[in-house]
Symmetry: C2
Subunit: 382 residues, 2 copies
């Protein structure tokens, strides 16, 4: 029996609320007409409050990876150096993308460990055109010190390119205050829309740095700016219209909840999952220092000794819940629970209960209950 009610508790795509799903069924419109411009402008207006920025904002018809590439591909030429901070898979992705366009100065930390700001400063002192960092490293459940790296980048005159794919819309992000030159988010994460779009803010400084004459074409941010600056906003190439319908409705939901309440709901949800893990005797995966935090949108836990997390995923899937395992070198070793978008207490409690059942079945906990109880105590403050 498949009644299409599988609960997605992975770090995106997130479950999409019925009113957002329905919005996508509207007939197509002319993407060069006034109606499309209205939708686009409405989205940008709400995104401005989410990003906390007066910079230019664009919506790309492509995933978060496309926006990461737009950021690097438009600013970095073959002789430019990019410091790529890495403590997880998406930091690695920035490094890989940077390597396609310029020279990489890698700054690698073991996945899941904290970034050493002293080393960041050392690298910056050697000179670089840009520095990339993932704010919320989805693969490891760790929050990196964006504000501090932004400050250092400004001090040393480097562009700060930040992946906020799983933080923007669910955690505190202040693009202008932090000096983020390009910040990137995906539609299918904290914003609660379907996958397929990405949004990014671009500072004047970043535009000034786009000196190369061979920008990527589909991801040409100058072309996006030119189209957006027309009297009636357009996109340079055909936009994914149904996804814009979905994004607009999702952003209306964000506005109705209020961005501050939304951030509180996200941080409370993640705190509940951490409390449940502690109650079940499951250790958190990230190795924190004074500059890093546990993620407020995706929680990464160590798989208990002797348990391959891929097997745990299968147990949960049999119960109708999709959680995530580890990516790449972390496969089998950790499991991750996304609690982003329009996730509710109900979703979190259901997930913890099934986790407890799976652990009990395997003799890893004595009883079902302590995890749910610990989570509930935190969620009750909502």
């Amino acid at each position: 029996m498949d009644i299409e009610d599988t609960l997605l508790m992975m770090p995106g795509p997130v479950p999409v609320a019925p009113r957002i799903l329905r919005a996508m069924s509207k007939p197509m419109i002319n993407h060069r007409g006034a109606k499309f411009s209205e939708i686009y402008d409405d989205c940008i207006d709400i995104l401005r409050d989410i990003f906390k920025t007066n910079n230019d904002l664009f919506v790309l018809s492509g995933s978060g990876t496309a926006a990461m590439e737009a950021a690097i591909g438009c600013t970095i030429d073959k002789d430019d150096t990019v410091i790529a901070i890495e403590n997880g898979k998406f930091g690695e992705r920035f490094k890989d993308i940077a390597g396609r366009y310029g020279k990489v100065a890698p700054l690698e930390f073991e996945w899941g460990t904290s970034i050493d700001l002293g080393l960041v400063e050392e690298k910056l002192a050697e000179g670089a055109k840009a520095i990339t960092m993932v704010h919320n490293e989805t693969s490891a459940g760790i929050q990196n010190p964006a504000e501090k790296v932004g400050k250092l980048a400004r001090e040393y005159g480097a562009l700060f390119i930040m992946d906020g794919v799983t933080s923007i819309g669910g955690d505190t992000v202040k693009v202008d205050d932090w000096g983020v030159d390009i910040a990137v988010v995906g539609s299918q994460k904290c914003i609660g829309a379907p996958p397929g779009l990405s949004m990014l803010s671009v500072s004047e400084r970043a535009f000034d740095a786009m000196e190369k004459d061979n920008l990527p074409y589909y991801l040409d941010l100058k072309a996006y700016k030119k189209s957006a600056d027309k009297s009636s906003t357009q996109t340079p190439y055909t936009p994914a219209i149904p996804l814009f319908y979905g994004l607009q409705e999702a952003l209306h939901v964000v506005r109705e909840e209020g961005i501050d309440a939304r951030i509180t709901r996200h941080s409370t949800g993640a705190a509940a999952i951490r409390a449940a893990s502690a109650a079940m005797g499951i250790a958190m995966f990230p190795d924190l220092n004074e500059d890093s935090k546990y993620s407020n949108t995706v929680s990464a836990m160590k798989s208990p000794e002797g348990l391959d997390s891929n097997d745990l995923k299968k147990d949960l899937l049999a119960a109708g819940i999709v959680i995530a395992g580890g990516q790449g070198r972390l496969s089998g070793k950790i499991f991750r629970i996304g609690s982003m978008g329009n996730i509710t207490s109900r979703d979190i409690l259901q997930t913890i209960q099934q986790l407890e059942l799976a652990f009990k079945k395997r003799g890893l906990v004595h009883d079902v209950g302590p995890g749910v109880e610990a989570a509930a105590k935190i969620l009750n403050i909502l």
Copy 2:
């Protein structure tokens, strides 16, 4: 009053049938799970019959322009020469994209005029890694000789990269027989799905030509191949799930109609529009030679003397119909009627009637009726 029934008679996005719109409202799924693989594989299976190819086929989460860039960006390095045939805006786009990656040997014809195969052969004889051509030049309503250019390209050892954005799925295309190394189509054209996805076929010869080490990242076709070749098909980056739901349903519609019947319906629709134009005394825009044809999916007509086609567009829009004007240098001078996707006789007749009304209002025709009559006579053979 807006009851969301505006009739899109432009060359994409096309009207999307209700069952395809509804398909997009299904809940999200894990894009790394078996269900997504099934959807992807089902799409590829049907696309194989539409493209007439045994080459690798991929679906990108990006518009047709993204697929055009993938084709060039993966095969062309800075010292490689690309012959870019241009007789309209999309030929120009290929030229522009090629200029971002390699050396362009432009082969420009006045927009709307025919391609001279003798000049194509001359250019090929000078040597090039690839030659690009738009099969159905949407901006000018002209069909270019893809089969013959494919033959010449093979003879001179150049890759043939073909934009089939508005031909594949609505007109005869034989990727393997014609020797097309990379063929590109958009979702929102003849296939009748919403915009946001593009599909392309890639020959082994094209893969062998991907020798550069700095391929685009989001549009890295080697990465697409690697993910598609996994035991359970995946995409390298998060796919636009709702658009895949829509594409799958649209492709089921194509299969139900049958690709041959679909091509006949498209060519009959365009013939009806041409017959109506003749009856109204409106001249076709393309200047044909023995190697070119009028497009079977979008008809381009000259705007009558003294009439700015942008005003004609407004008249039609007031009647609830979106037609297209001219792009770039053709703005105001021509108007275009798309008749692609799941367009019916009803849609065509309604459009012709409103065109006649608009012309009559402006004193350009004596009466309403001859255009509709001429179109109906052709459509009756369906």
